[in-house]
């Protein structure tokens, strides 16, 4: 069934061009939500959700800011309908956070010692060739 609209307004022009991709991403998200948890760690079951959420927001962000392929109106429409996460995009506009994986990883209140997640450490600073998968979103390093 078609996605629930938040406002009564019709979609602005250009919507038909982006709709198929968005529909595909929605479908992926639904699949991720209904996947069984067998064989996965407790935290690992949530990683696909965060990944797809990032992908959706990334798509809209790229279309507007990088490729400039959609109008401001359409972009605002997507943000209002919560197709893309406006808080996450707000971070992407900041220097150093362009590839931020999710908002949980920069939340210092979530950690024991008031630091950010390990995935925020640049690979250069992380010695010993260590592979990390952060527990929040499974990210392998989103800075640098």
């Amino acid at each position: 069934m078609p996605k629930i609209r938040k406002t009564k307004k019709k979609a602005p022009e250009g919507w038909e061009l982006i709709e198929p991709t968005l529909e595909e991403l929605e479908q992926k998200m639904r699949e991720a939500e209904t996947e069984p948890h067998e064989g996965k760690r407790k935290v690992e079951a949530l990683w696909p959700i965060f990944k797809i959420h990032h992908q959706k927001s990334r798509y809209i962000f790229d279309l507007f800011y990088r490729r400039k392929a959609i109008s401001r109106e359409l972009y605002d429409y997507c943000l209002n309908e919560n197709i893309a996460d406006k808080n996450l995009i707000a971070k992407w506009k900041k220097q150093g956070y362009e590839n931020l994986c999710c908002l949980r990883c920069i939340q210092t209140r979530d950690t024991n010692f008031g630091t950010t997640c390990i995935c925020r450490v640049p690979k250069g600073k992380l010695e010993e060739g260590r592979i990390v998968e952060c527990i929040h979103c499974g990210c392998r390093g989103c800075s640098g």
């Binding site: 064989g39 024991n112 010692f113 010993e128 592979i131 990390v132 998968e133």
Partner: protein, 355 residues
């Protein structure tokens, strides 16, 4: 309602709260910069089952996070680290330390008895701490701590802080691969007696396989047997640094008994100490064998052979003393012979001993 943490303290086990953990050096790890979290009443003490303040930290790169397992009261009662339950001074299991220091501890093990005992200890904490101090510190400065010092490690053993074995990898099913923080190594042999250890047994000093292993090692350590010939009262001392003199040796050995004579041969880095009484010599041998360190070197104590310094245990080539001229049965009796034979002979002998 009487459901908050503080209510009904009368005759109940007090929950424990602490400001700083009691932890040994190895458990803390090699990094001097540690971040530690403190959680009030985070877990139950593994021994007395009271909630206590749990401290948790990372003892170094690639180590598992360690946390305090027993409460401070239980660790005070036995003078052990809160995490590894090894003695704070020697790093040895409780069973070995109590055996060597001959400490008899009667902490009850069964439920109500144990609670009652701990409750009493907690209620008068100052008195408890004084008792503990007297038990472990005043005693262990005595002689029996020699065995413990020999058994104790000299450097910290960080292998204890390694992560546990990845049980998924053992089954071949570890999906984490490189990123897995657990060890991908062969697990220890399940037949090995060291693999089933129990925290309660280790704490009460009963049935501890590590202690058993150490005891076997202790009994296998070289021992110095007194010789059968009861008239030998001479100790051979090897590895004597060049600057050690007769007087230094005398200063040390006079505590065991009256010394008949001391002769040292700096060239050969050895010395001979002869006692008047055989019993004194045996005591001296016991106390100094493998323990006496003078001038920075551990002295190698052995029994001398026969009366007089004729043959010695180690290479005798350059050191064979001249055969004792007839009429001399023991160097100790030199004094009376001196008067009868004149000083010349005595001086000659003297010079040969202390060249």
């Amino acid at each position: 309602m009487a459901t908050s943490k503080g209510t009904n303290n009368y005759n109940r086990q007090q929950w424990e709260s602490a400001e700083f953990p009691i932890v040994c050096q190895t458990c803390l790890g090699d990094n001097p910069y540690i971040r530690m979290t403190k959680e009030k009443y985070g877990k139950e003490c593994k021994i007395c089952l009271r909630p206590f303040t749990v401290f948790r930290w990372c003892p170094g790169a690639k180590m598992r996070f360690k946390k305090t397992e027993i409460c401070q009261t239980c660790s005070h009662l036995k003078n052990v680290c809160q995490t590894c339950l090894l003695d704070l001074e020697y790093g040895l299991p409780i069973q070995i330390r109590d055996m060597a220091l001959k400490i008899k501890d009667d902490i009850p093990r069964s439920d109500v008895n144990k609670e009652y005992y701990i409750q009493n200890m907690v209620s008068d904490l100052r008195k408890t701490l004084i008792e503990v101090f007297c038990k472990y510190f005043c005693i262990s400065k005595g002689e029996d701590s020699d065995l413990l010092m020999k058994l104790a490690r000299t450097t910290p053993y960080y292998k204890r802080n390694r992560p546990h074995i990845c049980s998924f990898w053992v089954k071949g099913k570890c999906r984490r691969g490189e990123e897995c923080p657990y060890r991908h190594e062969k697990p220890t042999d399940p037949d090995d007696p060291l693999s089933d250890q129990n925290i309660k047994d280790r704490y009460y000093g009963v049935n501890d396989p590590v202690a058993a292993k150490l005891m076997k090692r202790a009994s296998a350590m070289p021992k110095l047997e007194p010789p059968e010939d009861k008239s030998i009262t001479t100790l051979y001392i090897g590895n004597v640094p060049a600057f050690i003199t007769d007087d230094d040796l005398r200063d040390h050995f006079y505590q065991y008994g009256e010394i008949r004579s001391i002769a040292c041969i700096p060239r050969q880095q050895c010395a001979f100490v002869e006692f008047i009484k055989r019993a004194d010599a045996e005591v001296a041998a016991d106390k100094t064998f493998n323990t006496l360190i003078l001038g920075g070197r551990r002295l190698n104590i052995k029994w001398g052979h026969t009366q007089g310094r004729q043959s010695i245990s180690t290479p005798p080539t350059t050191l064979s003393a001249p055969p004792i001229p007839p009429g001399f049965s023991a160097p100790g009796r030199m004094e009376e012979k001196v008067t009868s034979l004149g000083l010349g002979e005595a001086e000659e002998l003297e010079s040969q001993f202390c060249a």
